[in-house]
């Protein structure tokens, strides 16, 4: 936001509503993912049900952001920075809503994974991957609040770590499946969970790029890191 207020103060209130709602959606999405991973690891079905129900809130807020944003566009005919801010808000709301969906999907798999008691080591990789993604999400929300676009490049480059970790986890889970076919069912679900977390990282990168555009009007320079090599992973049978 600019340091000067609009002549029409209601316009400022409308923009503030949108950015406050994004901050709330971000916090909510962060909690959903965090708790979904906890529910998965602990096999907590009650918690997973709460998370699944919680997703409706994000869906509702996203619709609200879009409705309000359209109304602001119609009423105020925003220009320049304000226009970028509003369009950016809609895009970020959609990314956050998707992050919520991915969290919900992890929560849904809790039941299937915990049907048979799994050794803890199976979860370790997923947990570590989730920690990385959650840290990224927290930081991108901080950047949304403080508009320190200079931090964005570092954040985006760190998505590489998530991709690398995901590739190694992919390999690890394949290995467990080959060791003992009874692991296949749980490991397949865990693999989807890992994929979901990796996708969350991608949405965080989208959000970071959107914030950069909102603030500067320019696209973030340079290529996104593409270190995701899991599509080439093969584990040979012994």
């Amino acid at each position: 936001m600019s340091d000067i207020s609009h002549t029409v103060t209601a316009y400022d209130d409308e923009l503030r509503f949108l950015s406050d709602r994004i901050a709330e959606m971000g916090g909510h999405a962060e909690r959903m993912v965090d708790r979904a991973v906890t529910a998965l690891i602990k096999g907590d079905h009650g918690l997973s049900r709460t998370i699944i129900a919680d997703d409706a809130i994000l869906d509702r807020w996203e619709r609200e952001v879009v409705d309000k944003a359209i109304l602001v566009i119609a009423k105020r005919q925003p220009m320049a920075k304000d226009l970028r801010e509003i369009v950016g808000t809609m895009r970020i709301a959609s990314d956050l809503e998707r992050i919520g969906d991915l969290g919900k999907n992890i929560a849904k798999r809790t039941v299937a994974v915990s049907e048979v008691k799994q050794p803890l080591r199976l979860y370790r990789g997923v947990e570590a991957l989730a920690e990385l993604a959650l840290l990224q999400l927290k930081e991108v929300l901080d950047i949304f609040a403080n508009r320190k676009v200079e931090d964005i490049t570092v954040l985006r480059d760190r998505d590489e770590d998530i991709d690398a970790k995901y590739t190694s986890l992919f390999r690890e889970l394949l290995t467990y499946m080959m060791e003992d076919p009874r692991n296949i069912s749980a490991c397949t679900h865990l693999l989807f969970c890992a994929k979901n977390i990796e996708r969350i990282g991608d949405h965080v990168t989208n959000i970071a790029e959107t914030i950069h555009y909102m603030v500067t009007g320019l696209e973030l320079k340079g290529e996104r890191p593409k270190d995701d090599q899991h599509n080439a992973v093969v584990v040979a049978a012994k």
Partner: protein, 265 residues
């Protein structure tokens, strides 16, 4: 405006139709235009925006020497149209205004028939040799102004009997009847309803293929819709001139940003 942006503008596309250099305008002791240098392109619409009193209309009026009629007004610097200094002593302001047409905020048709409104300019400038030629000019001008179909059966009726939007298009027809090279418009739609505004905007878009159009507007959306280049004025200075899409999505200057987003003090 710094030299860098002048160079950038010069490099944009076609050569400039109007070149203004270090233009100063004084109303008595008031310094209304401060050292404005700008290139205005041919076959394009340039919008002048800025808060009231920023000098955009004053500067527009310099381009056809309308300020000459104000006794306390003094213009310094140089304005050239295709290399010809329009403030040169040998230039006849009346001839100049045939070349640089103007449309005002309020439609101001003469208290004459629709036909005579359009025929007036060509007649006094002796642009036609006979009635048939004059008829031809009137018809073409009204057609270009997208008014012909609405008035062709009542050319003898008074121009003042038309609706506001039609009157404004009649004024545009009158302005283009003398075959000008430049068309200046000072808030041409501010007295019109949205439909008449849309018709005039559509017309401006068509006229741009033949003229260099300069439009002063208080509507940011209008500037964004009709122009290819936008110049922002503030307190008599040119803040910046750039491609319209850049001005309205990502302007370089904070003053422009604040003004177009409605944050002006």
């Amino acid at each position: 405006m710094n030299d860098m942006s002048t160079a950038e503008i010069a490099a944009t596309t076609a050569p400039a139709k109007i070149t203004a250099r270090n233009v100063q305008v004084y109303y008595g002791a008031t310094h209304a235009i401060k050292n404005v240098s700008v290139d205005i392109l041919d076959k394009a619409v340039t919008a002048f925006i800025g808060p009231s009193g920023c000098g955009k209309s004053t500067f527009l009026r310099c381009i056809n020497r309308m300020n000459d009629t104000i006794s306390v007004c003094r213009v310094e610097g140089k304005i050239e149209i295709e290399g010809e200094d329009i403030y040169d002593r040998r230039v006849d302001p009346v001839q100049l205004r045939a070349k640089v047409g103007m449309v005002f905020q309020k439609p101001n048709p003469f208290p004459k028939s629709i036909y005579d409104n359009v025929a007036y300019g060509p007649k006094i400038h002796g642009l036609t040799r006979n009635k048939a030629e004059l008829d031809e000019v009137v018809e073409t001008s009204l057609k270009k102004a997208a008014l012909w179909n609405e008035v062709k059966d009542r050319l003898a009726s008074p121009g003042t009997g038309l609706s506001g939007g039609q009157q404004q298009r009649l004024c545009i027809a009158r302005a283009i009847a003398t075959h000008p090279e430049v068309l200046l418009m000072d808030e041409p739609c501010s007295a019109l309803d949205p439909i008449a505004t849309a018709q005039v905007e559509e017309l401006i878009d068509e006229l741009r293929s033949q003229f260099s159009v300069v439009i002063v507007t208080h509507s940011m959306q209008q500037a964004a819709r009709v122009s290819q280049r936008t110049a922002m004025f503030h307190l008599g200075e040119l803040v910046e001139i750039d491609a319209t899409e850049t001005i309205f999505t990502n302007p370089s200057h904070k003053k422009t940003q604040d003004y177009i987003t409605g944050r002006y003090g």
